[in-house]
């Protein structure tokens, strides 16, 4: 520990005549030359090849299909330009689905944020509960969506469901939550939130662990209450992680298809038909490939604009 270091007391004159120590710290990273770069590109080739084949090529094909009037997949069709888009834009069901997706996104975000933050704060504590919970709390996420759908349909079954019975005991008749148009959407949102909140909880818990204890104690000494400490100290440190989580989580949430497909299939009477469900039904039930493609392209555009606005206005300072 007694080794001499740069912060030695003898206040060094900031003279330009002492460049030696500076050049050590600001040394530019040496580029490795052609061999180095070739190796790098070789490493990148496999993932780019897979992405080109499975993501980029289908994306281009979807755009081309949206400019045609294809019905059953693979059937003969003609190029009709933007006519298909006009059909979609005049379809009230498209706008309903878009609005429902907005609601789906906001409610999923709200429910999962509350559950995930609550869980993350508890995971931080000492004791056996937090220690074991760090392992089991992720279980709802590792269960296949099919099983999630079965479990909740079973627990909410109007005849034998344990939750139905619990609510009946306190005088509330749940009926059949998945087939009641009034509450079907919120029911599926709650089921989806149950499936996904553990992942967010673990990420937030990880971010909370990066908040230095000394800063928190300093805030306490200065007389800040928990609320002030959170907004002044914790939140700014969490912001980059919350930003990434918010962006990725919102897009993943918006694109959820399986939970809806496996519980209500978009029903009853379209009450749970969000945008992915609308695209799926248009392609596979109504056999209108081009219209499904056009709706998808429009959705991607909406998502792109929303994501750009999110990045523009909510990006924390100094993050890439």
């Amino acid at each position: 520990m007694g080794a001499p270091d740069r912060s030695a007391p003898g206040r060094a004159p900031d003279s330009p005549a002492a460049p030696a120590p500076r050049s050590r710290t600001s040394r530019r990273r040496r580029r490795g030359g052609i061999k180095h770069d070739l190796f790098g590109y070789l490493l990148l080739t496999p993932i780019l090849a897979v992405m080109a084949l499975v993501l980029a090529l289908p994306l281009v094909q979807a755009v081309l299909t949206s400019l045609r009037d294809e019905r059953v997949i693979g059937s003969p069709s003609e190029t009709v330009g933007f006519d298909t888009y006009l059909i979609i834009l005049q379809d009230p069901a498209f706008w309903d689905a878009l609005g429902r997706s907005g609601l789906w996104l906001l409610l999923n975000l709200a429910v999962q944020t509350v559950l995930a933050f609550g869980t993350a704060l508890l995971l931080q504590r000492q004791g056996w509960w937090a220690r074991t919970a760090r392992v089991w709390v992720v279980l709802p996420w590792v269960i296949p969506t099919v099983a999630v759908a079965v479990i909740w349909q079973w627990m909410l079954n109007s005849n034998y469901g344990v939750i139905t019975h619990a609510f009946a005991a306190i005088g509330i008749d749940l009926g059949s939550p998945f087939s009641d148009p009034g509450i079907a959407l919120i029911t599926v949102i709650l089921v989806n939130s149950w499936h996904w909140f553990p992942l967010a909880a673990v990420v937030i818990y990880g971010a909370l662990a990066t908040v230095p204890v000394s800063v928190l104690e300093a805030a306490k000494v200065d007389g800040a209450n928990a609320w002030q400490t959170f907004w002044a100290v914790t939140f700014p440190i969490l912001q980059p992680v919350l930003f990434a989580l918010g962006l990725v989580g919102s897009l993943w949430s918006f694109n959820v298809l399986d939970t809806i497909l496996l519980t209500t299939g978009g029903g009853p009477a379209g009450a749970t038909t969000t945008m992915p469900m609308y695209v799926y039904e248009t392609a596979f039930d109504a056999f209108r490939s081009s219209q499904a493609a056009a709706a998808s392209v429009l959705t991607v555009l909406v998502l792109g604009v929303a994501a750009a606005l999110f990045v523009r206005f909510l990006r924390p300072k100094g993050s890439p």
Binding site: H36, D37, F39, G40, Y41, L43, L44, P46, I47, V50, M51, V54, L55, L57, P58, L59, A62, T119, L122, R125, W129, R134, V135, W136, V137, V138, L139, P140, V142, I143, P144, V146, A147, V150, I151, Y160, H165, P198, V202, Y205, G206, A207, T210, V211, V213, E217, A226, V241, V248, L251, W252, N255, L257, L261, P276, A293, S296, V300, L303, S319
Partner: protein, 277 residues
């Protein structure tokens, strides 16, 4: 002491009970139900603990459904996806965040966009492409599709881990005469073990739970994965809750085992990843 200790007036104990009930309650319920007799399962007043334990539901599942076929298909797909994802993601992350080849900023951006593409949009065109290259109705095709969704996310996940390995190590290795390949595999990779564990768990869980592509791209019943098999049991025997419960338990069991073994590494891995974001 953390800032949450300032919230000590919030009844934390109550919240713990609530979170436990929310996260584990449904899992507990399906597991005990699977051990009940069919009569007890549909009894008007649910029993919190089976009055008579029976493994009859499980033996019926193994006798009347091709569960073991589904299981081996799912294992193949999940393991194949995991191995390929880890290889691709490690290579990509090393090239992008360690070697920093020219244009890596743009490629990293492309990879970020990739894991946000709506999967529903790709079903129809992907079906055609997989048919053209002979990978429709094949587990290899399913693995390929899974990898396209998991590898970009895992590349992003590994960023923090690669950056946490000091650059000086590379330089020291170069001075000792190690080439770039040896530096990568023998020096940097072992130091990234927690990151690799995180990528393994994420891609395994993704492939294990994936439903939409598995139902669209696999036509042959003998090639179906567990989620498809389970949904077939649900559809086929809607009233037979005993069979459905047993099927559900057997579908979630393998990931439960994986998590009991590797769960702590996963949570730890995500934390390191977040630290370096």
């Amino acid at each position: 002491m953390t800032w949450s200790s300032g919230l000590r007036r919030v009844p934390a104990g109550l919240t713990m009970v609530l979170i436990t009930l929310i996260a584990l309650g449904p899992i507990y319920w399906v597991v005990v139900s699977a051990f009940k007799t069919p009569q007890e399962i549909i009894r008007p007043t649910p029993t919190l603990w089976p009055q008579t334990w029976t493994t009859h539901n499980f033996s019926r599942l193994l006798e009347t459904t091709p569960y073991t076929t589904y299981l081996s298909n799912s294992l193949l797909v999940a393991l194949g996806t995991t191995v390929l994802t880890v290889v691709l993601a490690v290579c990509a992350a090393y090239g992008l965040y360690r070697l920093e080849v020219p244009g890596s900023g743009m490629i990293a951006g492309l990879i970020l966009v990739a894991f946000m593409i709506p999967g529903t949009l790709l079903i129809v065109p992907l079906y055609g492409i997989l048919s053209d290259i002979g990978l429709i109705n094949s587990l290899a095709g399913l693995i390929l599709v899974n990898v396209a969704f998991t590898a970009p996310f895992c590349t992003w996940l590994l960023r923090g881990f690669i950056m946490s390995v000091p650059k000086e190590i590379d330089e020291a290795a170069a001075i000792d005469g190690a080439g770039p390949v040896r530096t990568m595999f023998q020096i940097v990779l072992p130091l990234m073990a927690p990151g690799l564990a995180t990528a393994v768990v994420y891609s395994f869980v993704f492939a294990w739970t994936e439903y939409v592509y598995a139902t669209q791209f696999i036509l042959d019943d003998r090639l179906h994965t567990l989620p498809i098999g389970l949904s077939a049991i649900v559809g086929q025997y809607t009233i037979d809750w005993g069979l459905v419960m047993a099927g559900t338990v057997f579908t979630i069991l393998p990931t439960l085992i994986l998590f009991i073994v590797a769960g702590r590494y996963f949570v730890g891995g995500l934390i390191t990843g977040a630290n370096k974001t």
